[in-house]
């Protein structure tokens, strides 16, 4: 998808030129007021901005052409939902199915994945916030859109609902092969859903790249967070029932995790927090930490870190990740850029989702 859009907002101009993947989930991140929602609405067609927009081979917008929102076949889900209040849940869904793009989305599967089968006869006004959002997502997915646009869809939900819905959503988007563009304000949503991302500030594009590139990027706030982390694709290869440990293959490496076991052979995502990685000059020795992998130290950052702490960027060949340690540790271990170092990753904190 090629974006070259401009629009005047109160105070500043939004100007974004980017080439985004037309598959998978792309996040639009940035501080409040950066123009994320505006960009999403420009892409949806609710704001008539200047410039051009192409999706695959199609020209959605340029100097001569402007497709109205109803002709773009883009789904659109907001915090507010937009459920039709005068129709039952079932009729809201069948509304979308009737107008769906050719391709056929298995209705039963979507409803099951989002857990709304028992709500079909209900009226929207009696649903809780979480239930409403689930129905909205189901409805938009059932229309089989070319692209699903999401504007902070989980903002009004509690943490548990957010987590569940993120998992279901990601699963469904992959299953149905529907690309998505997601405005994400919360870090948790970002790391749960995004494959790719762009970072906006004051209406301008500051960075774009794969999720981990953004999470590690020194110019972006993500790496400086207390819960800074990376997200790695992994496969469940073994389950040790004696110790209740799941073994995950991440690239060449094998990591253990005490998270809930999923299907054997399933593809999952592994989150490794910087604060749960410690470094050592030696390979795994007798310690409570289960995982130890060999890495090369790429970077040490002292700026914007909690006092006395340093952020290390490590290269494990297949992937990069972060570790946080004290300045004193750096001195004691005599860590230098380029030196090999063993990263110890606590098994209990290698979470999957």
């Amino acid at each position: 998808m090629k974006i070259d859009l401009r629009h005047q907002l109160a105070g500043f101009q939004l100007q974004v030129q980017a080439q985004l993947p037309s598959r998978g989930i792309t996040a639009i991140a940035g501080p409040s007021g950066a123009g994320k929602t505006t960009l999403l609405r420009l892409i949806a067609g609710f704001i008539h901005g200047q410039g051009s927009l192409h999706f695959g081979d199609e020209t959605i917008q340029d100097d001569k052409v402007f497709l109205a929102p109803e002709n773009r076949q883009f789904g659109y889900v907001t915090q507010d939902g937009g459920l039709f209040p005068h129709l039952s849940v079932a009729r809201n869904l069948s509304f979308a199915v009737q107008r769906a793009r050719a391709g056929g989305v298995p209705k039963a599967e979507v409803c099951a994945a989002l857990g709304i089968e028992h709500l079909l006869a209900h009226q929207p006004k009696y649903l809780s916030g979480g239930e409403r959002q689930r129905v909205c997502l189901a409805r938009s997915l059932l229309a089989n859109p070319k692209l699903l646009l999401l504007d902070e869809p989980f903002a009004a939900l509690d943490e548990e609902a957010r987590e569940q819905l993120s998992i279901s959503l990601r699963y469904l988007l992959q299953e149905l092969n529907i690309p998505a563009l997601l405005v994400a304000h919360e870090f948790a949503t970002l790391i749960r859903l995004a494959d790719y991302g762009i970072y906006l500030e004051n209406g301008k594009l500051h960075a774009q790249g794969l999720l981990n590139q953004l999470l590690i990027d020194a110019n972006l706030p993500f790496a400086n967070r207390e819960d800074a982390c990376v997200v790695l694709p992994a496969r469940n290869v073994e389950y040790d029932s004696r110790f209740e440990l799941v073994k995950l293959r991440v690239g060449q490496h094998l990591l253990s995790s005490s998270a809930k076991p999923s299907k054997l052979g399933a593809d999952v995502y592994l989150r490794i927090r910087a604060s749960d990685v410690s470094l050592s000059r030696q390979p795994k020795s007798r310690s409570s930490i289960q995982n130890s992998i060999e890495t090369t130290l790429l970077e040490l950052r002292a700026n914007n870190q909690p006092p006395g702490q340093v952020l290390a960027v490590l290269d494990a060949n297949d992937f990069l990740f972060l570790a946080r340690l004290t300045k004193r540790a750096v001195a004691e271990l005599d860590l230098k850029i380029g030196s090999p170092v063993f990263a110890q990753i606590k098994a209990s904190t290698v979470l999957t989702h």
Binding site: A44, G45, F46, A68, P69, E70, N71, Q73, F74, G75, Y76, T78, D80, G81, G82, L83, F84, P85, H86, F95, A96, R99, K125, C136, R139, S140, A143, P145, L149
Partner: protein, 228 residues
């Protein structure tokens, strides 16, 4: 007792009394129908508009609210009358002329009521509709109308009741032509003028009854709307 009722009935059922009642009901019905056809789309358009155009049109529509009915009637008389540009259509002192006057007079009531109902619909409903491929006209029919149903009915009932009681505009534009433009309100005035208080009483009672029934309906609808 029976004789009194019989006399009362024969008086009420006399053609002279039925005629203004029927004409008033017909005027109210036709006016309300025209207002539904004209006013509802206008109200929707206004609810989706913004900026100076909306302010202008809203103000224009609201003028009959503050204008004395006689002023409105006067200018209509000049516009539609024998010396005006539409003289050949013979709209004054005729039922169509009354309809025009009543429509203009009750337009703000219909439009404002219905516009408020449309504005109560969350924008996200319309945007969701667009994301499913509904064009502007379809969004109006499929989404806006069902969701504003109660507001539209209220507007219709309000216009109906108002038109029933219309006096100033009707007198100016319609005169007092029996069986043509002699509506209930004018017939009452006429009866009082002739000191025929019996007739005035009967006609007034009928008017009160109809007006009350309409307002009852409006209140019921308002209660139902607020439960949504």
């Amino acid at each position: 007792m029976g004789a009194i009722v019989r006399v009362w009935l024969s008086k009420t059922m006399s053609a002279a009394l039925l005629s203004p009642i029927l004409i008033s009901l017909q005027l109210a019905a036709v006016t309300t129908l025209v207002l539904l056809l004209l006013g509802v789309p206008l109200a929707f358009a206004l609810s989706q508009m913004s900026g100076i155009w909306r302010a202008l049109i809203e103000s224009l529509v609201a003028v009959p609210l503050v204008l004395p009915p006689t002023v409105l009637g006067f200018y209509l008389l000049l516009l539609l009358g024998a010396n005006g540009p539409f003289a050949s259509l013979q709209l004054v002192f005729s039922f169509p002329g009354l309809v025009i006057g009543s429509v203009l007079f009750s337009l703000p009531f219909m439009v404002r009521q219905v516009q408020a109902a449309f504005e109560a619909i969350s924008v996200s409903v319309f945007e969701a509709g667009a994301s499913f491929g509904l064009g502007p006209w379809q969004r109006f029919i499929v989404l806006a109308l069902p969701l504003a149903k109660n507001g539209i009915l209220s507007g219709a009932m309000l216009s109906f009741a108002r038109t029933l009681g219309e006096f100033g505009v009707v007198l100016m534009v319609g005169g007092n032509i029996p069986d043509k433009t002699r509506v209930l309100s004018i017939a009452i005035f006429d009866a009082v003028e002739r000191a025929d208080y019996t007739e005035a009483h009967i006609l007034s009672l009928v008017l009160i009854l109809f007006s009350f029934a309409s307002m009852l309906l409006v209140s019921t609808l308002a209660m139902r709307q607020s439960k949504i």
